[in-house]
């Protein structure tokens, strides 16, 4: 169990991160990461899958995460130019504390994305997220974000926005 204050801080962090991602506020989203951050979107729902053996949609260390954000900021990432209008709802939030003191936050999400770069189709993205949050200089930062889509192993359309 965690304190009400920790729970509330975790919830607020998730909402803030979602807002930055949904509104294509790339620099602000980028600033939420720790220097050792890992951003992982597996290509399977198998909980035993390993990023060292199996291909993922995203397995970014901090350097690749920086590249991902810079690409979006060039204005030439045509799969997100213009950025997809989108909104996500986050729910079923559960917070625990790990042995190393980080907050481990589990949540579900539903994200509606209007893919306006070509066909103007609505895409629905649904899944489970695990965040690990750490205090750095008094501010919560994410050191790990794992997003398991329910259709992770199915053919997916472009996923060039921040999920």
């Amino acid at each position: 169990m965690v304190s009400d204050a920790d729970y509330q801080a975790a919830v607020e962090f998730l909402y803030r991160e979602a807002r930055f991602a949904d509104e294509a506020r790339y620099a602000e989203w980028h600033a939420l990461w720790t220097d050792d951050g890992v951003y992982w979107v597996p290509a399977t729902t198998d909980p035993g899958a390993s990023p060292d053996q199996h291909i993922s949609h995203i397995y970014d260390n901090r350097a690749r995460l920086d590249t991902r954000v810079k690409l979006l900021q060039t204005g030439h990432r045509y799969s997100q130019e213009p950025a997809s209008p989108m909104r996500r709802l986050i729910s079923n939030i559960e917070v625990a504390r790990s042995e190393d003191g980080e907050l481990v936050v589990e949540s579900n999400f539903i994200l509606a994305e209007l893919s306006i770069q070509a066909r103007h189709e609505m895409h629905w993205w649904v899944g489970h997220t695990t965040h690990r949050l750490r205090r750095v200089e008094g501010q919560l930062r994410m050191s790990h974000k794992k997003v398991v889509l329910i259709n992770a192993a199915e053919p997916l359309p472009n996923l060039a926005f921040l999920i």
């Binding site: 291909i55 690749r64 997100q80 770069q117 070509a118 472009n158 060039a160 999920i163």
Partner: protein, 420 residues
Amino acid sequence: MSETAPSTIDYTSLVQSDRIHASLYRDPRVFDDEMERIFHRGWVFVGHESEIPRPGDFVTRTLGRQPVILARTRDAGVGVLLNRCMHRGTMVCTAPHGHTRTFQCPYHGWTYDVGGELLGVSYPGGYASLDKRSRGLLHAPRVEAYRGFVFASLDAKGIPLAEHLGPATRLIDRSCDLSPEGEVELTARWVRHRCPANWKMLPENDSDGYHLGFVHLALFKTVGSAQYQRVVGDERSIKAVVRDWGRGHIEIDWSPGYERPFEWLGNASGAAVAEYVDQMERRDGPGAARRRLLEGPAHAFIFPNLFLGETNIAIVEPIDVAESVHWHTPMFLKGVPQFNGRLLRMAEAGMGPASFLMPEDLTVASRNQLGLEARGNEWIELTRGLERESIDAEGRAVSHVTDETTNRALWQHYLSVMTA
């Protein structure tokens, strides 16, 4: 096999030597003809032997429109089974991959072994005589492999695989020979990327050296390395070439622009690389090993659906006239597992829905599909490089990497298949 009569479309008028007609990407009747003539008659890549190492291993795939199971049988052979119960037609296996002793139909319980043999039916008393041997899952009539790459044809007649591949086996060799043991392993599973465009745009784009500096401008602006400059720099300074290997097999060869080994492996260095170089030199000798490690793997499309994407292997899956799926997996090199992590990360960077390259390609492909609905000019020109391409000593057309030599080669083979 088709429920529709063959169309009477005159492909000779639609595919000309220097232009093609837009309806080839747009007309559902063309798509029907392609499924029948290209994917249900010819050789089609199904999967790799390393995906199913043990008896009982299987993966499910599609050949044109037909669901199949690629399975390792009890005698360690490789079979391509039609994924359809012989009783009422139910798909017997829906998992993308797995390991099993039997395929049991969920409808009435008919049970087949992993090689397709009918083991038994429920309540057999209802059949006066049932010849189990004739009720096994149907096999693709022809299955052949080259260096672990398994191809199948759903037509009992036709040319052997060796004739279909022709000299393009050397492209497969180029990739496999980078393994000290001469084998690649596709064991990382696949990512599948939905492409809202006709399937033929995928091989055309995979072998297009003209678009890189435009479609992928974001990446070149972000990662300003010299390697990329050699791809998108001044036209005369670009040394890479495109090449036509015949029968629709087409290549981009980056290696004339490479200056040192391992540019294809992101300029890998360190102890793991030194050990690898040792292994390669012991096998090939220092000169040949150095050349191989400089040239790197093939960047080539094997007609109609296999893409040797340098350190990735990709599959082009047609879904409908305006819908396809691009599959990819990293190409692991047997004997150097220390590179697997790097190859995984390279695969994620290059291909797939969240990668740094492919989302742009498929956005443009989708816009192509939309734009081709505009009538007025129904023709797509393929003239780029016609005046400067040449024929090399082996009879292959070769030209500047930005030229449409590859498109012309693909379409001329397409025409020969569609009018056969």
